[in-house]
Symmetry: none
Subunit: 207 residues, 4 copies
DNA sequence: AATGAATGAGATTTCATTCAT
DNA sequence: TATGAATGAAATCTCATTCAT
């Protein structure tokens, strides 16, 4: 006769599961973690796992979805605080992403990392992220501030690949670079910057 | 306890396995393919699989290693044929990568793709690829053709992330872009280009 | 990928597994029994096997450990009931072992038998069993009742090898000897008896 | 087109296989050695293995059979050199066994050791070894030199178990005892000695 | 005779999932 | 609702054995 052990933290089973999943996915990779381990780490029964998530990948998707909103939020907040000048906004947005990867390395790794077993199953979560950048580029292009020849959609995607690749690599071993350096490099290589039409009368270098 | 029914059959069992593995990994992803399926597709016994590769990941590593050499070769060949001007060399190298991903989409996807279960196990195969780019940038930096402020190692890595990201995305659905567009976009965003110090007396735009 | 059909069935799965393992190990030998067969015989899923024992040898070890305690218990109980005279105690202990091998032939065979694949893995379970005998001999040696020249540790081990060898051989085919004969032979050859210093003035027993 | 590599030592393939098998069985145990490994160690093709032995257990049996004859030979030689007195003969025979286990530890271990997977398959090789001892005891019993109550067959078996057990244990770690001690202990506990009827008028040896 | 690549039955082990409590 | 023992399909890997060369 086994009695159910009443836990003080029954309501937050879901939160515990998300947190346990995050830690385990980040440490061992998506593939070598299973629902039982997540439940055990969350100090929750396996049954509880399945009453909150239909399967392992749902939990993964939930983590990713939270991460993506978090990152979007961080970027928006940074943009609100930045001035109106495009370059300032760009730097603010990049810096926000760098900071986010610094503050949530596990979430970042799990969401964007290469070892993403079952990637096919959770679909194109990441896909839409390049939209805002593309829009911004398009606007500036209309204003004549960005080269007309640039394919803004491609460029936006390309930038995002770069940012993600760099931040993943950086978080693998944070001693590889300073946050500042990263921001500078990413800003420098951002299409907004690199495909900028030089403003008349302004010398590039002294900026 | 009782087994067998061997044929002298194939001397190129290894080649068949590599090819079968490539096709299956590319189609179903690393995770949903197993040694049995690879062997069956290669028309080879399971035992044969294991007498050629200690495990699934060894085969994967072999594929990756071949892909990386192939890509390196393609780049070197393109550089040999390109003229001496850095920009031409850059474009040739980028075009070679684009063409490689076009001609070997499966190998490219398997080697660089996101759904890479067990990625941890096969170590930093990709790591060294950014070296040549970094060296080239450094050289040009010394010659004053690239901004001194640029961290060439970071920039080289960043570019590579971008290239890989774009080509993977492109090969998922080739109608997403034209090869030419891709080359142009990648060249445009390449640090060699975007961090270029404008040569004195030459107007940027009319080029 | 899709599985299951669980029943709340057995709470004593472990007991069933132990019993099935014992029967199979005894009948077919350690080597020709596998976890699947044990589970099937125990009317339990294979998964259940592995949720109770990390592998086949753990189950084997568990059986051995139980057997050894059982045998020790039986000896101690016999000694409690025997009188104070060393010879009576000796005979009681030997008889207890003989009876134990008679009552638990499978357990005896599995624990002490020669066909012990993976013996190396379960370490020196048996090793300590000769300790009590050695201690008893040492005590009697101090009292001058056993020859001083005798190496009691060696002798204790030697006796145990003899007892085990005889009982295994006997249980292979119980018609080979009578329990009484065995007890007499073992007592006769026991170092306590054979290395006894003849008590002055007493003619050798019934001789 | 693979050519057969002519080896200098083609004729002694069998000897090489026996030797390789002995070494591997002794080191890794019967169970964790397979025909391929034996052939590789013998520097011989697997096919060659099977043209000399029908299976792994045949080779094992061949090793055991050689070991048993070797041990018998050693005993007989020792008996030839010993004087006519039973006690001298006994000591010579025991010493020969001790020496044999010292000189051929691997063969002894493989033949008599506990980790004997597939023991069932090679049948009662060891069984007959106690015959000579039993016969000797019977003879002495007839001459009134050994107690009439003793079951000589049981006693002979018992002694052999003891000898084998001790020597296996000793060879596991030779520092556990001196060869001399072992001989003395075994002689002391041998039924010929321990069940000896004291000769009238003779005080117990040097006592 | 000697070789060794090839073979596949089978052993071991994992893990997503169910359901009686 | 929470639990976790039980489950078995499926994956990984081993190895005795054959046979074309």
């Amino acid at each position: 006769m086994i009695c159910v052990m009443p836990r003080a933290k029954i309501q937050d089973a879901e939160a515990r599961l998300l947190s346990a999943g995050l830690a385990l996915f980040a440490r061992y990779g998506t593939e070598r973690v299973n629902s039982n381990k997540i439940a055990r780490r969350a100090q929750v029964g396996i049954g509880t796992f399945y009453s909150h998530f239909p399967d392992k990948f749902s939990l993964l998707r939930a983590i990713e979805s939270r991460t993506l909103s978090g990152l979007r939020e961080a970027r928006l907040a940074a943009l609100r605080d930045a001035g109106p000048r495009p370059l300032d906004q760009l730097r603010a947005s990049v810096a926000a992403a760098v900071r986010f990867s610094e503050e949530h390395p596990e979430a970042y790794r799990v969401t964007f990392g290469r070892e993403r077993a079952g990637a096919a199953r959770h679909g194109p979560l990441v896909s839409e992220s390049s939209r805002p950048t593309a829009d911004a580029l398009r606007r500036l292009q209309t204003q004549g501030l960005v080269q007309l020849g640039l394919d803004v959609d491609l460029a936006a995607r390309a930038y995002l690949s770069m940012e993600v690749g760099m931040l993943l690599w950086w978080r693998e071993d944070p001693s590889r670079a300073q946050a500042d350096q990263l921001v500078e490099t990413l800003v420098e290589l951002h299409p907004l910057q690199s495909a900028r039409v030089p403003e008349p009368g302004s010398r590039e270098a002294g900026d």
